[in-house]
Amino acid sequence: MAKSKPRVKAPKKASKGDIVTIKTLISHIMETGLRKNKKTGKIIPRRIINKFQAKFEGTEIFSVDLDPAISANPFFQFSMKAEKSGEFEFIWTDDNGEVYSKKSKLTVS
């Protein structure tokens, strides 16, 4: 599988008190663990992103516990109330232990 590439669309600027919308997507197969290899009849082992976290200045604003029913290339859209300038950090955790992350700065005026 190709390396998982996280993509984030978050605003760079906001006015204080605004509710900003953030969109994230990561390329990932999200193998359910229920499919069988057609040739061998063996079950393909589960491999999904099992946790997604969105932090702002180190505090968690939103997170998701994922189960195999989330589609491949998990997409999330969510919001945050902009109170101060700071940095977002988005973290995806893979079943195999790998962690992917991405950061984005927000300036609040």
Binding site: I19, V20, T32, L34, R35, K36, F56, T59, E60, I61, F62, S63, V64, D65, L66, D67, P68, A69, I70, S71, A72, P74, F75, F76, Q77, F78, S79, M80, K81, E83
Partner: protein, 151 residues
């Protein structure tokens, strides 16, 4: 009025049979045990009242591999009064759990979107847990043309 010919009678019969086939999946509305168990686990046995949460999904999903999902919970989202968690349950899938969304008062609004898999036509349920300990639910039926858990 003339009597119905044999051909016409047969045609009527098959139409009725086809209609029955279409109605059947709709009458199979009761939640599956899997979904009920998961809901009980989430609420700790408490009853979830309908309302406050709105679940938006397409009525017909052609491809069950990626079905858009979006929900909104009515809440001021302050430190004292906010939405803690929202669970999405698909009782007709081999495994009913879809995802649990965890919010905080920093979220601003309790609203999120994602994409999910659906194995077949079924009811999708969303249950929200509020900071005051109450539970609210919404459900919507999605008709699936091609299931999304094929192997």
């Amino acid at each position: 009025m003339k009597d119905l010919s044999r051909r016409e009678v047969l045609a009527l019969g098959s139409t009725a049979a086809a209609a029955a086939l279409f109605i059947n999946p709709l009458t199979a509305h009761a939640e599956t045990d899997l979904a009920k168990d998961l809901m009980k686990k989430f609420t700790g046995g408490k009853a979830a009242t309908a309302g406050k949460i709105k679940l938006e999904m397409p009525e017909i999903a052609e491809n069950g591999n990626t079905v858009p999902l979006s929900f909104t919970v009515e809440s001021p989202m302050t430190k004292k009064d906010y939405v803690k968690r929202v669970i999405i349950i698909a009782g007709g899938n081999p495994r009913p759990e879809v995802a649990t969304f965890n919010f905080s008062h920093l979220s601003g609004v309790a609203k999120a979107s994602s994409r999910m898999r659906l194995a077949k036509t079924q009811n999708v349920i969303a249950v929200a847990e509020l900071s005051d300990g109450s539970f609210h639910m919404a459900k919507t039926e999605v008709k699936v043309t091609i299931g999304g858990c094929g192997g």
